[in-house]
Symmetry: C2
Subunit: 181 residues, 2 copies
DNA sequence: ACCTGAACACCGTTCAAGT
DNA sequence: ACCTGAACACCGTTCAAGT
């Protein structure tokens, strides 16, 4: 199952090149350009990553595991309500990196990101349930709701400050509820 | 200022062709394909619409004016809070049409859509202020907030039913507020 | 096994030549 | 004035030929 040495090396070169190019040009960056910068032929890129999303997922993996670590740290160091909100803010920032790569990878739309999705979900569940059990988060909200809302905000907000505001609004609600008895 | 007869005709053919192609393939549809279907050369397309967004704006105009009409109708026929919510739902559905054309055009990102933005804003203001004055909408929320939130939802939600749910969540808020005294 | 890179059909965009 | 369509540099993707 392990790759031949040169194949392994080419794979690493491709992921490194893709990381650089995607950081500069976003997730629609030219695949030929990535292969060129990695010093391999386009065919080699396709051999290792049959689809664009497969390559993007490899680029994305490192950042994703960082986000999962942070979820654990927050869950250990802050009260449930605050930990969840803090992590949602990290998730939003994250979704804005690399001109939309983040938002693209965290939505379940791209079938290649099934692994990413599972990792994210596991990390989030550790924050979600305590927040609900302690009465800080509505019990009818689930992981999918949170990801879609934060990904949407990240795609629409022109800058991080706007994203921060939109997330705050979403947490608190736009509507003024009728006064309670 | 009026166009020569053949130029006028070509312009109309281009918008009609673009409307069809964009409905099928979304806002990234091939411009050469649009020119081909309109029966003109690619140069003619560029003469009339120097950028892709200029062409998309022309396609978008019809739908947009419909949305403005609906804002007026709602504002006349429903109480302020309900009228605004109903219109936000229309806006969301609208932003999902043509594989993202709507969301793309209502964000102020594309400089070519300045006119669209102004039209939308005028329509929305007639609903926003009454809702705030009657105590149904938070007074610190503005038009930009509403557009960015609905555009975000439209981009992230996989289908209209999900979009409906996400908008409801955003209106009501995710967080459970501490009990009031 | 794996890599190479030429090749194909396409794209956005431009511009000399026409009417 | 406006239109045409060939042409250019690029893109994603494939595949025979090499090692």
């Amino acid at each position: 199952m392990t790759l031949r040495a040169d194949a392994r090396r080419n794979r690493d070169l491709l992921v490194a090149a893709a990381t650089g190019v995607v950081a500069e040009e976003g997730p629609e960056a030219s695949l030929n350009e990535i292969a060129r910068r990695a010093g391999v032929g386009p065919g080699t890129l396709y051999r290792h990553f049959p689809t664009r999303d497969a390559l993007l997922a490899a680029v994305f993996e490192g950042r994703l595991s960082r986000l999962c670590e942070q979820a654990e740290e927050l869950s250990a160091s802050a009260p449930p309500g605050e930990a969840l909100v803090a992590w949602l803010r990290l998730l939003t920032v994250h979704a804005m990196t690399d001109k939309g790569l983040g938002a693209r990878m965290m939505l379940p739309t791209s079938a290649a990101s099934v692994d990413c999705w599972a990792m994210l979900r596991a990390a989030a569940d550790g924050l979600l349930k305590p927040a609900q059990e302690s009465g800080h988060l509505r019990p009818d909200v689930d992981f999918t709701d949170l990801v879609e809302l934060t990904a949407g905000i990240a795609q629409s907000a022109p800058d991080p400050a706007r994203a921060h505001r939109l997330l705050t609004l979403t947490l608190d609600g736009l509507r003024i509820p009728p006064a309670r008895a």
